[in-house]
Amino acid sequence: MGGITNMNEVINIDDNRYPERLKEIKDPPEKLYFKGEWDEDIFRNCLAVVGSRRISSYGKIITNNLVTQIAAAGVTIVSGFMFGVDAYSHRAAVEAGKRTIAVMPCGIDMIHPAYQKDLYEEILKNNGLIISELEGNHPPAAWTYPKRNRIVAGLSQATLVIEAAENSGTLITAKLTNENNRKLFAVPGPLTSKTSVGTAKLIKDGAEIVTSAEDILKFFNVNNFNKQKAGNASYKKLDNIEQRIFEQLNHEPLEVDSLARILNISVSELGKTLSLMEIKGILFKERGKYHVN
């Protein structure tokens, strides 16, 4: 335990290493406890990615897709380490081998939620930062979450909202972003989903709608290195059945059974083609449905 506590350091608001951008908000934290290597460069380009804890499979795919490209382009992903969109964002950044900042709702010596310990360690391994304004083993409480959110928004030039329900904590972060006069992005979602209500409202109220990673990268004025994705590259080489499958799934993600019925081919025939397309990286399976990559 001693080793871990020693790693924990603190930066006061009058320290010149304290991030300038965070000072600009209404009530910046007096002290920032952190774990990891404090490199001021990490704060240069920061995007807060926030969203629902109850992430849908659509949300997973979008988070993964956007964050991977944004992080790969060198933008630091800042989020709140909660399960759901937060965790998927951190994970996507880490998997791209990039730095990410997790702002904890609890004391710096705690991991909350504890079962995401592996993600916590991955973040540190990839030169990321764990930050909290609370010391020691301060437990998370209803009031610590909105306070955490103000740091997430305060550290970032812009905030990206992926999936938010009505009256959710995510909307607090969005509100704080607006109050700080920072840029707010929101991802549109299917109107049938409860977690699209919040994002739809944000877009109506003036948040910029995001349809690709480019929208955000343009704001940061950085290049997308990850633009060529496997799906489009091999698109031309598809045979007849593959082509029909691809078009159908491009229209709407489907389960094997529905796809077999629509295309009128047997599941064994379809199954083999789907496996091959999956190996080639054209398709992927998420929660029982096939999606186009």
Partner: protein
């Protein structure tokens, strides 16, 4: 006068010869005692024997009677020593000569008739092995024993008739001829035909592959999507037991006492679906005198565990070793018993605690954490031993039944079963020189021997391993499944489309 009457006892599936020695002494006070570690049921035999002898119209001797069950150090259980004891007493008082080279077995009723006994088949097998010519067993159990050729099985109705048989030169009891009968031993045969299952095409295909190769199957799906219905349709597509398999299964049912009176050989594959409150002993087998559990009763058949995640962890974990070895040894202080347990596991579970994850209409109310905790309940090592994994989507039955009215009628169970039977025959030929019957039973050495892969397929499998992070065990599982798909396709070797289809049923990371 000392009389020795040969009999036998079953311990698990193993039969031991027991010599029943009866001495009716000319001196001493009238007593009746049994020695040789008799259980309560054996000891009570005294009252049954005495009353049965008297009620059959014979005189019970007023002498000192000592019965010894040899070997004396093996504990004796059951009521099957009634007949040999009674015969021993009667032959010493009435001067009846018992036939040579015979076995006697059976429980007496107070009126002198004989009751149905368990384990008759094992007894006949034992007689055949030891070169014993005749066995005398209760009439109701005789058909079951008569399956074994080369042994004269005499059906005994009552003590009185048996004695008449012995005193008459020509005999009055004819040896039993085996008659095949339909026996109702499993109450849960196919409740549905495959054509009644609408939608779930991939689920049905997975069932077919599993049944063809004896593979274990794991189904994941929301409540009401048809997991149980599919499993209940499974018995209808299972092929008939082969002769060797029949004998193995019948032995277990006979020894466990599940064979009904007038029993015959079991031809259909067992289908067991224990409830999730089943104890470990109930599932695996055990007890101080070990009995077969559901996994052994599902030997060569199906063990269906519905609501897999609701079974206690310790019960599920105990399936590991039998799933690997196809048999298990139950060791107790009194005895060690080995039961075969080569079953096909079909397990079904919900995707999350509320059950509605991925449901197109109902919202799932579980948090990510709850789902993770729930998934963790499913044992990793057990999942690793399951060859086929399939996700079952929720189907809108109203919409589907309209769709299907237009199309040609669906395949019924009989058609699917024919394909499966053919695939099984191919497997039987393949493993002629090995002691296995199905692709699922293949160990790595069998795979290397019987499933040569072309360069192209190896490459495909390696690409898949990289793309889907397959473990070494999963790699071999895929080959086994591909082999079954090839057998269903009546192909002599695995081609890349067989392998690609097999990959559909890999475990989800």
């Amino acid at each position: 006068m000392l009389i020795k009457v040969p009999s036998a006892t079953n311990s698990g599936l193993h039969t031991i010869k027991v010599e029943v020695e009866v001495d009716v002494a000319q001196k001493g006070l009238p007593t009746f005692g049994i020695v040789g570690l008799p259980s309560k049921a054996v000891d009570e035999s005294k009252e049954r024997v005495r009353t049965a002898i008297v009620n059959s119209g014979f005189k019970f001797p007023g002498n000192r009677i000592v019965v010894n069950l040899a070997p004396a150090d093996v504990p004796k259980e059951g009521s099957f020593y009634d007949l040999p004891i009674a015969l021993g007493i009667l032959s010493s008082t009435n001067d009846i000569k018992l036939p040579e080279n015979s076995l006697f077995f059976g429980e007496l009723s107070l009126d002198g008739s004989l009751r149905h006994a368990k384990g008759a088949l094992l007894l006949a097998l034992f007689a055949k092995e030891r070169g014993i010519d005749n066995i005398f067993i209760p009439q109701e159990s005789a058909n079951e024993a008569a399956v074994i050729e080369g042994v004269n099985v005499y059906p005994v109705e009552s003590l009185k008739i048996l004695l008449e048989h012995f005193s008459n030169e020509e005999g009055v009891i004819a040896a039993c001829e085996y008659k095949e009968k339909d026996i109702k031993i499993f109450d849960n045969q196919a409740e549905f035909d495959m054509k009644e299952v609408i939608g779930q095409e991939q689920g049905k295909r997975a069932m077919e592959i599993a049944a063809a190769g004896g593979h274990n199957l794991f189904m994941l799906g929301s409540p009401g999507c048809g997991k149980t219905m599919l499993a209940r349709a499974l018995p209808g597509i299972l092929p008939e037991l082969t002769e060797e398999e029949s004998l193995e299964v019948t032995k277990i049912y006979s020894a466990s006492g599940y064979m009904p009176p007038g029993g015959s050989i079991i031809k259909i594959r067992p289908f067991r679906s224990p409830h999730h409150t089943t104890s470990r002993v109930g599932l695996i087998g055990g007890g101080s005198r070990p009995k077969a559990g559901d996994i052994s009763l599902a030997h060569r058949g199906v063990l269906f565990l519905d609501e897999f995640n609701e079974f206690p962890r310790s019960v599920i974990e105990s399936l590991r070793q039998p799933m690997e070895d196809g048999n298990l040894t139950i060791s107790r202080s009194m005895e060690k018993v080995n039961f075969p347990a080569q079953f096909m596991l079909v397990a079904s579970a919900n995707p999350c605690p509320c059950g509605f994850l991925n449901h197109p209409k109902k919202a799932c109310t579980c948090t990510e954490r709850q789902i993770q905790e729930y998934r963790k309940r499913t044992s990793g090592p057990i999942l690793d031993r399951i060859d086929l994994h399939v996700d079952l989507p929720v189907v809108d039955t109203n919409k589907l039944s309209q769709d299907f009215k237009v199309k040609e009628p669906l395949e019924d169970s009989q058609q699917v079963r024919q394909r499966i039977t053919k695939a099984r025959q191919k497997q039987k030929q393949r493993f002629e020189k090995d002691s296995i019957y199905t692709n699922a039973e293949m160990k790595n050495r069998h795979i290397k021997k019987y499933c040569p892969l072309s360069k192209e397929i190896k490459q495909l499998l390696n690409q898949a391993s990289a793309a889907f992070h397959l473990s070494a065990r999963a790699y071999y599982k895929m080959i086994k499944v591909a082999q079954t798909i090839a057998d269903l396709d009546n192909s002599d070797e695995i081609n890349s489309s067989h392998m690609a289809e097999a990959l559909q049923y890999r475990a989800k990371a």
